[in-house]
Symmetry: D3
Subunit: 255 residues, 6 copies
């Protein structure tokens, strides 16, 4: 039994408020348990210098935590005058993950910036950001595809993320903060709607892990991401789902 009463293969409750921001081209407020993130998508008719003149678009992400998203107040990176390593690592991960399901050619020379701002943190902020950012991005691109009459629909598949880890000697799905802080192994997994891996980042700083543990963790992640993508489908609605041309999979079954 876990500290919040869940089974090892259960995710926390997911709540998604769509169109949360009146200015952004796409936005959600996503809650996974007590972890809460605002994701907004901004569409701009220009690409960064290194992408210019290639007829392709770009998708990038920025990640930040409000100072009191955490139990102890963390100093603002704007006040420190620089981004920390953790922030950079996370926003590179989010951007890379989102690009994996987008056709940059179909997007045309435009850029989409996903801002993921963590309002309250309770474990899994990077995976919640990816999950929420995908929805915000999908709303923004869907609108763009209609407004600009894009020939090819730029979204190729759904994309969800979840954390897994070894806590108290047990492999567990979707760790909350308390679990995360005592996990021996910690892994973040990003997968597409058709069940392929986009990112696998496992680390056993406190204790190296065996191939058998790795296999168990990957299996749990697969279960969790199925649930997460179901929640994304519901948030985006049937029309956008249809345009992504994804064959909805059945809900994950578990013991």
């Amino acid at each position: 039994m876990r500290n919040d009463g869940r089974n090892n293969n259960q995710t926390r409750p997911i709540a998604i408020t769509t169109h949360y921001n009146k200015h952004a081209e796409g936005s959600v407020f996503i809650e996974v348990g007590e972890t809460k993130v605002i994701c907004t998508a901004t569409v701009e008719e220009r690409v960064p210098p290194f992408m210019k003149g290639q007829g392709k678009g770009w998708v990038t992400a920025e990640y930040s935590m409000l100072p009191r998203a955490t139990q102890v107040r963390n100093q603002r990176e704007s006040a420190k005058g620089k981004l920390g390593g953790r922030t950079m690592e996370i926003q590179r991960l989010i951007g890379r993950a989102l690009r994996s399901v987008i056709s940059l050619e179909a997007l045309g020379e435009r850029s989409i910036t996903l801002d993921c701002d963590v309002i309250q943190a309770d474990g899994g902020t990077r995976t919640t950001s990816i999950t929420g950012a995908f929805i915000a991005m999908a709303f923004a691109i869907d609108k763009l595809a209609k407004d600009r009459n894009l020939k090819t629909y730029p979204i190729r598949d759904f994309l969800g993320a979840v954390s897994v880890g070894v806590v108290n000697g047990q492999t567990s799905l979707d760790l909350n903060y308390e679990e995360d802080s005592k996990a021996k192994v910690d892994m973040n997994v990003v997968m597409t709607g058709d069940g392929k891996f986009v990112e696998v980042q496992g680390t056993g700083e406190d204790s190296p892990f065996s191939r058998a543990e790795l296999d168990e963790l990957l299996a749990l992640a697969e279960v969790g991401i199925k649930d997460i993508i179901l929640a994304q489908e519901e948030a985006l609605g049937p029309e956008i789902c249809a345009r992504i041309r994804r064959i909805p999979h059945a809900a994950a079954t578990r013991s």
Copy 2:
């Protein structure tokens, strides 16, 4: 008639969600029209170096906008590597204003940091931040006064803020973004519960203003701040109101 149907002496609707953040010692989510700010108060048992050893506390504030709080995305100050002049000016204002109603001696050698994060901006973000931060601070200090059994109650009075300006040749209360961007004169006023001024910042960059206009603007601000303090009283509840020992004033009457 104003662009949103209000009379010149009317504030926008105010909504205050208390205890919005599970980690902070005090917190609110405040909405004034379409302007939305999360205010959290963090209590720490230490003071900045320049205050050490004086037996007094400190109250300070930080202010930030999410990148897409605005119509056009604004770059993060953490990415730029420094705080802009506007941000510094606003957070200095908020801190100064809040300190005016606090007895730093009664607080003891502790600091309270108010984080004001603008989720969505539609004019008046600095005054909304002050209004919201006062409530978050009051919750935090009230808890502190109980937990630490403070001899003197550190909060001396209520504190509210509002903007006024000259728009389309008319003095108007609580400007929204569209009004603000075409205002000839722009003034932010911060007042205490007993009707005294803490800050008056009026600027007529595009058009200097007369003493008569100044008087009209100050009168409007007084009306608005009475409404705002009523909303604060409701949010804080009768017990905390009683402890602040404030004699509640009647609602402002207007034509």
Copy 3:
């Protein structure tokens, strides 16, 4: 009686050395009591990016203090690697104030940068900077108007600034450092030659102030600024005064 023997409604002696710098298009060395500031105006045939292509000019200001302008040496902001909040606030104020009396259209696509460098500080450095910068700017623009044969004269009015405050329970004009450091209320006022307000910034951090006090302070500021503008007229000389087309007012009378 004040610490330097002045009456409450008296400014300190004002001395203005014109054409102080051989390189700048306009320059003064201004002394208000023991506060000493070098103001230079630089004219450049370009505007900042956000102003391009509008056929309008721009006026901006920078403010700095020499490290030993103050009693205790203050660290250079160049060595710290960033501008402090106070500096930013002041230079934004100076720029805004100066723009209020300039027709940016008449200026054409040019920018004027006012550098205000405090050589010695004894209270009122920001108001002295505004007063001095106006003269440096006027010399530079007058020269420009002649050299470029500008159709409309870009200077619309004089501009002066002064501080007022409540010291030892008395409202006082033009505070020196010692007065400023014990003032309960501190207000900076910027006015035009025809007696209109450009900026009113009053703060009662240590003690909120009443409407009656505010009225007294504004009246004192008006008296002081009349004196200051007389000094400006003398420094600029009758020809430039005439071109600004200002009807000189009589000297302020006082009890």
Copy 4:
């Protein structure tokens, strides 16, 4: 056949020059193919603030590339004034990986800093850095264990790293730069001497990958890391190997 004639399961030639630097407590110059890295270990009798007073040591790493380590000159991060996201990500990875085989308690309140400076880059600079840094660290700790007569030997196991990826549709071991730049899937794997995983970081930005591909990549990595650890054993010599108390495994066999 690969672009440099290797089989898919072959690493590039590994050359390790030990004691390369006369000042450092431990150092190597490691060459993996054309990738060349100087790794130095510095021992200091203090720990970072967040580790103080716990009776434990700390191991950290810094990573940098000379400007012309790459085909096109890259700007120095010291000249840019900040570390890039890639650098931060890599140095966090190196430090984390090294700590996984060290007993921080046995080390005592000391810190070891591993500097990995890439002299020439041809793919796999982060994995080569980990492999080389382990040797430099082992020399430094071994010396420390003797000099300070440490009760417990702080090194628990060997640690090697290698990259694997899918290039031209084939899973391949130890990618060089040309391969890396066209790889569809890219994975860095860090393992201990007893065959456990410390880090698994796989990314399929350009093309998500299946579970079958993931399994093949992990198997290749295991083969490569065995070779790498053999080279480490040879560089460290039988005495240190014995103190690490590792049972040497046989060389990897392959088809």
Copy 5:
């Protein structure tokens, strides 16, 4: 004949206003031709961390130019967020030069900071800064020696600096800006009162120079520095001169 009518072995007129700043422990306003620098000396009862506990003092310098000290406005280094290489080089030079004539032991654990702020630049700003800073420092140390009753007088000798160069094929003393900008060889020389060298910095970027030219330049510098030290003696007055225990040399004679 030079562009300002001087002979090749003539310095520009030197004017020194002592006690220019009311706050600093020592200060001068020094004018060498049209080059004008404010030098202030600040005494603090502490030394930088690297000097602590050695019973010795420290002397350091900072150098800056006002933005419009130059013909074309130069951007503030505080606005750029960092000191340029030229500034750092100059302030290191000034500090090093001043320390050469001070007994740090006699000074005791105190630091003296010389701020050299160039008000107007017309060549030779670094040498003028050294010459002026010596006087400001001497006033500050003399006062300190009296106030603290120092056993040994910390000033060992006078110190002056001048530039020399090859302009229009001729070796010339004390270059002004126009000369400096077309000089083929440029040399700054710092010497003590007893005719020894403290710094010789010659550079022939545009044209290497022979030993014979070097000898001529050094001879010219010697002549100029004698004049400069005479001016310093006059500024400091006979009492301080006597305490420095320097035997005044006769004025340099020249053809």
Copy 6:
């Protein structure tokens, strides 16, 4: 007798490994005693903004030390977020020195960046960098002259650098770290192949020096630079030497 057995007029052994880096247009690994520097030359078909449109090229240098090049680890300037004064001073010196023997007109609108990275430091890192950078630059320019068929050969002469100083009361050539740290006078000299001076930088921070000492130091430097240029000739080979059209001088003779 010196601490490493050399006579006062002897340089340390010089070893030059050419073409050390496979990517750079020119490169060497230079060892002068235990001081070791990698120098790479990068050719780019563009010039910095201030050189644009003049039909001339540019040569610049960057200098850095690996953290453990020194006995005690020095913090990376990339981690500090800015270049130190010493680094800036040195890289300005290297660039200036190299430009003195190059015809920027003959080079055409291209820039050459010399990166000097100190792998191990034992005194004389800046002079070793200049000596090595000249060779790397010569290889790069020679290749460029051939590839682009330049009309005029851009290299005008050889360029070498050495340090001299007064150690234990004796003038000495090519100081190692131990000597340098106790030298009373320290001088860096850069000379061309035909025996002219490019830079003379002498400093007597701890003890001013006489003209006689200066003369002795310059004579020693001349001897050392002859040796150094012989080593450069050998490294570059007869063909490039011939193109530089330098008449080789005989080896320096000494007592």
